[in-house]
């Protein structure tokens, strides 16, 4: 559906850029990737980095409901009312790609309850290399892999690796310990992705999420550029 298309009736149908009251909705960024690659840790780090300047919320798609949501709550990266868990019936990729209705409800409900938001992060349940987000659900997507699952993953490709708007290669601090060659990963990723960007991160270091946060800030600037609301919405408490 075209992003600038609006409906006359109540409620949005798909990824309409405007909410029913005519205001522009939050930017929606999807984070996908295999189990254990660091999606939830990346979401947590992004929240800590961005929450003072922007109004944020998070939707998680746990396999066993609430596991990731509970982690974010325990880490207190956002107030509880800003984190929603969607249940996926043993098929996390279905909920972000083939039947996005529960996730659309969750993102719309967050904005209805919390008022205008700048950014909603939608984290997929840990899945396989083919899992990507529907354009009906998110505006842009990040695919997170890590060095310890094998440095041949960028070469193997798959829709997540080749088409995600940002590829994140996480846990670079482990590379020497698992025999992962970061140079090979970078050149394989470049071959698979053409001009699409790749970020290497180690979330154990200070401000380790910075390359991802900078990319998110660019996306936010572009998103706000198309709105009547150029300033950030009120910061989260």
């Amino acid at each position: 559906m075209h992003l600038d298309h609006t409906h006359d009736g109540s409620g949005a149908v798909s990824a309409d850029a405007r909410r029913p009251d005519g205001t522009r909705r939050a930017l929606r960024i999807g984070l996908g990737g295999p189990v254990g690659s660091g999606k939830t840790a990346t979401v947590a780090a992004l929240c800590r980095t961005l929450r003072d300047r922007y109004a944020l919320a998070v939707v998680t798609n746990d396999i066993y409901t609430r596991e990731d949501a509970d982690f974010l709550l325990r880490e207190a990266v956002l107030p509880p009312e800003r984190i929603t868990a969607v249940e996926t019936g043993a098929c996390p990729h279905t909920a972000i790609r083939d039947d996005i209705s529960a996730n659309l409800e969750a993102v719309e409900d967050l904005e209805d309850r919390l008022g205008p938001l700048d950014l909603i992060l939608v984290e997929s349940g840990g899945d396989n290399l083919t899992a990507t987000f529907s354009k009906g659900l998110v505006d842009t997507q990040i695919f997170v892999i890590d060095v310890s699952s094998g440095d041949d993953i960028p070469r193997k490709g798959g829709p997540g690796i080749t088409t995600a708007d940002l590829l994140v290669v996480n846990k670079t601090d482990l590379a020497p310990h698992v025999g992962a060659d970061l140079t090979t990963m970078a050149s394989d990723a470049a071959r698979r992705r053409g001009d699409l960007p790749v970020a290497f991160t180690s979330l154990t270091g200070d401000d380790g999420v910075r390359p991802v946060a900078d990319w998110v800030l660019e996306r936010l600037t572009v998103w706000h550029h198309g709105t009547a609301r150029p300033e950030p919405a009120t910061a989260t408490p």
């Binding site: 009736g9 066993y64 019936g89 098929c91 909920a95 659309l104 409800e105």
Partner: protein, 224 residues
């Protein structure tokens, strides 16, 4: 009417949120009441003739053009378990979203305006079927079949059940589904003269009880 519209609406890939719901079979699997294709068959048959019949009649009445607000109240009256009411409205909202995209019309927009919290799924299904040019009997078939297809799919994921066996269970239930749909459509045909009270109110107390318990589980694969 388009016969193919029926296939679109009833198809397992229609994006209306059903894939995350087990129709109660996750709780039944945990209680070891469903553990193979024979017990799956028994579960599906029981659900079909109780909750399935009630839902099919509501869907048929909505497809026949009866007031969805009256039917939504009738659905509430036939759904005593709060967890199942919440599930029915959530699935109703999700189905409405898909139906508005597939068959845009004033009746669906009005339903979205009148019940922003969502109507019961069978009521939305009936209005959507009508919008798609389908009959009351068609709507009853979709509702009845959905009541057995959902648990069968979920059982494959929960038990690692042979998918061919699960599909054979559905094939064996075809005559039952047809009979329930006919019964439901007949009841819907009497609403004009006798009111919504004539619609069946069959239910399964065990499904109601286990749905409430399931909703309180800290860890589960399915939303219901």
């Amino acid at each position: 009417m388009s016969r193919t519209a029926l296939l679109v609406l009833a198809g397992g890939r229609f994006p209306a949120g059903d894939h995350a719901h087990s129709g109660g079979v996750e709780a039944a699997v945990a209680a070891r009441a469903v553990h193979d294709s024979a017990t799956l068959y028994a579960f599906c048959r029981g659900r079909l003739h109780t909750a399935g019949l009630t839902a099919a009649a509501l869907a048929a009445a909505a497809a026949a053009g009866h007031d969805p607000l009256v039917l939504d109240e009738a659905a509430d009256a036939r759904t005593p378990a709060p967890a199942l009411r919440a599930t029915a409205r959530k699935l109703g909202r999700q189905l409405l979203r898909a139906a508005r995209a597939a068959w845009p019309c004033e009746a669906l927009e009005r339903l979205a305006r009148d019940l922003p919290g969502g109507a019961h799924q069978p009521v939305v299904l009936g209005v959507a079927a009508h919008a798609a040019g389908l009959t009351a009997s068609d709507a009853a078939h979709v509702a009845a079949f959905g009541h057995v297809a959902g648990p069968a799919t979920a059982a494959v994921r929960l038990l690692g059940l042979d998918p061919f066996d699960a599909t054979a269970v559905l094939a064996r239930l075809c005559d039952d589904v047809d009979a329930v749909a006919h019964q439901a459509a007949d009841a819907a045909g009497r609403v004009a003269g006798e009111g919504a009270g004539v619609l069946p109110a069959a239910s399964s107390p065990l499904l109601d009880i286990t749905a409430e318990q399931h909703a309180a589980w800290p860890m589960r694969l399915f939303a219901s």
